[in-house]
Symmetry: C2
Subunit: 316 residues, 2 copies
């Protein structure tokens, strides 16, 4: 079996881009000629979520949230989503109602609509979501490939909460003495896409953007390689979610590395020109520069890049 | 477990339609304010296709074709598709290449692009496809719900080939003495969406349209109920694909009922005003009229509607 990244490379190599498409495979979302953005992400029980720890509502929320995050990463606003449900025999109508109740809540909070989809039998619970978004007036979708040397790298909020929450879910004993443990778990089960932040960054002139789905280092590496630049990430500058340092300590892992590689934060990583003003809720975590394309994790001026930058959902 | 139709009803009851959407859940595709059409259909191994009888290319072709058929049923042209692959451990990179080769061929034949998607591990081979289309200039997408009393019901080509092909796949002995057996199997494995026909019918003034995915009677029933009308289908008028009568005879089933309920033909069923001219490749199969909403199958003036109108992909 080939890894996810290798498969995507092979797929992208083969893809033909025909009329009406501005940007095809290779970004958080594709872009049509009129600026419409399109993305599809699927959530599979046992791979991205687990029925043992996630409610039906959690699973459905996550599936829609990760797609909203793709639209956010383009600096666009979501308009409509389609939902494909693969349902095992034991899933009841009430479970499906619970899934849709939570997806409708999330859709409503973002002013967008669930407009269709498909329901099928399947041996494994699968939620495929496709989403359509549009940028605000006069703004083009922000790609990951258009960062510029000297741009500042910023994140929209604290990192590590989802990874720490997953650790607590897997080993509840870690929660002892950590008042934020429940909040960490909730962040893992109910990711919150940064749609308003994405639009704001696009309007403020971000040159490149990506959502932090698989770990800051891996997603920064993707932005850097797509832009043909080096990205330096300062591990000592990362904004840590409350409770992450304590949880990492209890588990005996490096908190900054947990925050940098843990994945599923769904914060945005943006490159902004040095001249742009910094909003207070943005944290500078590094810089783009000319150099060998890819990410370097720095600590006190030393390169401490780990071998594993983040998560792939299909092992190599 | 609830049936597919019951689940879709529950989902549609809950759905809120917000800004930017003209038509939400309940048609072959959703329609945005600017006429953009969106659909998502998934194909699951063991449910819609079988790795024992379908090649990887067949499965991928089918997944894209059924989505193209949804766009065709709106009278629109496809622009872009997103592909979500759920891949079991034993699927190799070469298999994925084979899937994309056949999807790229089909995309190219329709002048549209595969622009992205997702790859995930999964215990079962799953292909989710989302598609975006646009109507030709000056034409609105054709819904299934807007048929009018007195409209003529037409189909775009012969029926029953896919159902007969599936019977041959399951019982190869049926093929003895039937020269068209291979062609029937091929029609089942490689459905051909009627995109040009759909555009032509929309431009010719079709009032309602639906693709025949689950059986002529079931899809006519959907159109009729959505339009608040009765639909009479004349079983003696159905255009039979070559070899269907012989295959049905060999299997001891009624050929017209096979063609009317077999499903997966991916021809289009359209309602056209009596004043519209009939193209030679269209066949009149019935009529819409005022009356109890739903389909009736007629034979020599008698109501012979079967209890089972077609296929659901999640049993009741």
């Amino acid at each position: 079996m080939d890894g996810e990244l290798e498969l995507i490379r092979r797929i992208a190599d083969r893809a033909g881009v025909r009329g009406g498409v501005a940007t095809g495979i290779g970004d958080d979302a594709a872009v049509l000629d009129d600026g419409t953005v399109l993305a599809l992400d699927m959530v599979v029980d046992g791979v991205h979520v687990r029925r043992a720890t996630h409610s039906f509502g959690d699973i459905a929320h996550t599936a829609l949230a990760v797609n909203l995050s793709d639209v956010a990463a383009m600096g666009a606003l979501p308009v409509a989503a389609l939902i494909g449900l693969g349902l095992p025999e034991d899933v009841r109508g009430d479970d499906v109602d619970a899934m849709y109740a939570d997806m409708e809540d999330l859709a409503d909070a973002h002013g967008m609509s669930i407009v269709g989809g498909d329901v099928s039998a399947s041996p494994v619970l699968t939620v495929s979501v496709a989403i359509v978004g549009r940028p605000t007036a006069g703004i083009r979708p922000v790609l990951r490939s258009t960062g510029r040397p000297g741009d500042t790298l910023v994140v929209t909020g604290p990192l590590g909460a989802s990874a720490a929450g997953l650790m607590v879910l897997r080993d509840p004993a870690l929660a002892a003495g950590i008042p934020e443990a429940d909040a960490l778990v909730k962040t893992h089960l109910r990711p919150r896409p940064r749609v308003a932040d994405g639009v704001h960054l696009a309007e403020a002139g971000a040159t490149a953007m990506i959502d932090i789905s698989d770990g800051l280092l891996l997603d920064a590496d993707r932005m850097a390689r797509a832009s043909g630049l080096a990205a330096d990430i300062d591990l000592e500058a990362l904004p840590m979610a409350p409770g992450v340092v304590a949880t990492a300590g209890a588990a005996g892992v490096d908190p900054a590395l947990l925050a940098a590689t843990g994945g599923e934060d769904y914060q945005l990583l943006a490159a902004i020109p040095p001249s742009a003003g910094l909003e207070p809720h943005l944290t500078v975590v590094g810089q783009l520069r000319d150099g060998d394309p890819g990410v370097r994790a720095m600590r006190s001026g030393r390169d401490v890049t780990p071998a594993r930058l983040g998560w792939e959902h299909r092992g190599a």
